[in-house]
Symmetry: C2
Subunit: 164 residues, 2 copies
Amino acid sequence: MTRTSITPSGITPSGITPSDDAAPAAEGRPFSQILDRLRGAGLRPTRQRMALAKLLFDGGDRHLTAEMLHADAQSANVRVSLATVYNTLHQFHRAGLLREIVVDSQRTYFDTNMSDHHHFYFDETGELSDIPGDQVEVAALPPVPDGMAVSRVDVVVRVRPADA
Amino acid sequence: MTRTSITPSGITPSGITPSDDAAPAAEGRPFSQILDRLRGAGLRPTRQRMALAKLLFDGGDRHLTAEMLHADAQSANVRVSLATVYNTLHQFHRAGLLREIVVDSQRTYFDTNMSDHHHFYFDETGELSDIPGDQVEVAALPPVPDGMAVSRVDVVVRVRPADA
DNA sequence: CATCAGATTAAAATAATTCTAAACTTGACA
DNA sequence: TGTCAAGTTTAGAATTATTTTAATCTGATG
Ligand SMILES: [Mn+2]
Ligand SMILES: [Mn+2]
Ligand SMILES: [Zn+2]
Ligand SMILES: [Zn+2]
């Protein structure tokens, strides 16, 4: 067994953080940031991508499914088809703006928090909460199979209501 | 942050191990073991449950989906409907004979290895391989949210073909 | 402004899984 | 050993999340 301490989540985004500037995330933010993010990712800033990016990145760290984001959009009077929401989430993911989290074999969650971190998963409610990367230590790992490279180490702490 | 070292996989089976006796797993095994396992789990030993249990537990540790087990059954000339395979897998799971692993949000894997352990996941092929529990150390964990109890800690090491 | 590659979308298709309801089995027990 | 209720199996329909299709738009560029 090798004592290599492997960092969770191999690929890190290009140093971009959701709200990188002074003021705390407010409502009517300038579009320029989001615009730059999309451009930086090589994605055309279309009406729906801009709106979805705003919903995704303007309000701190979020864990959500396509359906959730779609509902969010409707509430915000943003007209986007569910297909576009799926497309956009996958594009953002490929572009390194979102993480995909596997905790439930029935739905796919996306995470706007791109920093190294892990998760608590509340089985009952289907909610996720972050565990900062420095609060978990995957100390030892066996040698990775030959010819393979670790793309990521995911730690999921499944919790449920404590009972008697 | 609490320094509680939490053991992965909370609930452990009743000390039963797949091949608990001397001889290495062979083909034409006595049914008695399987029969006892089902009885012990409070499940009626029906023809299909016996056959599926044999396929599942007679050949060492396995990670499989319902479709895979169904295919296995067909190959072995065991006639079982896919619905029964699903039912059986869930029943075995509830009875503590199988583990459910979440690594792919599109299919559900079941694991015949009930010991404390973690997994390598080969994204390309969808294959899983075990990492013995004592070869991973989840050293530190933040305090579990109030009123919650850890039901399990899953570590998934995602690997892919090493490239240039 | 014309052009067109790329984007959006309604609707159909797919895939994994669950449900339904009818037709069997199993395990008592007389 | 025959009977029967409870538990099981199954074909097929239904459900759900997601992807695909193909037609229609729209953003960028000259
Ligand atoms: Mn995906
Ligand atoms: Mn299940
Ligand atoms: Zn997260
Ligand atoms: Zn395993």
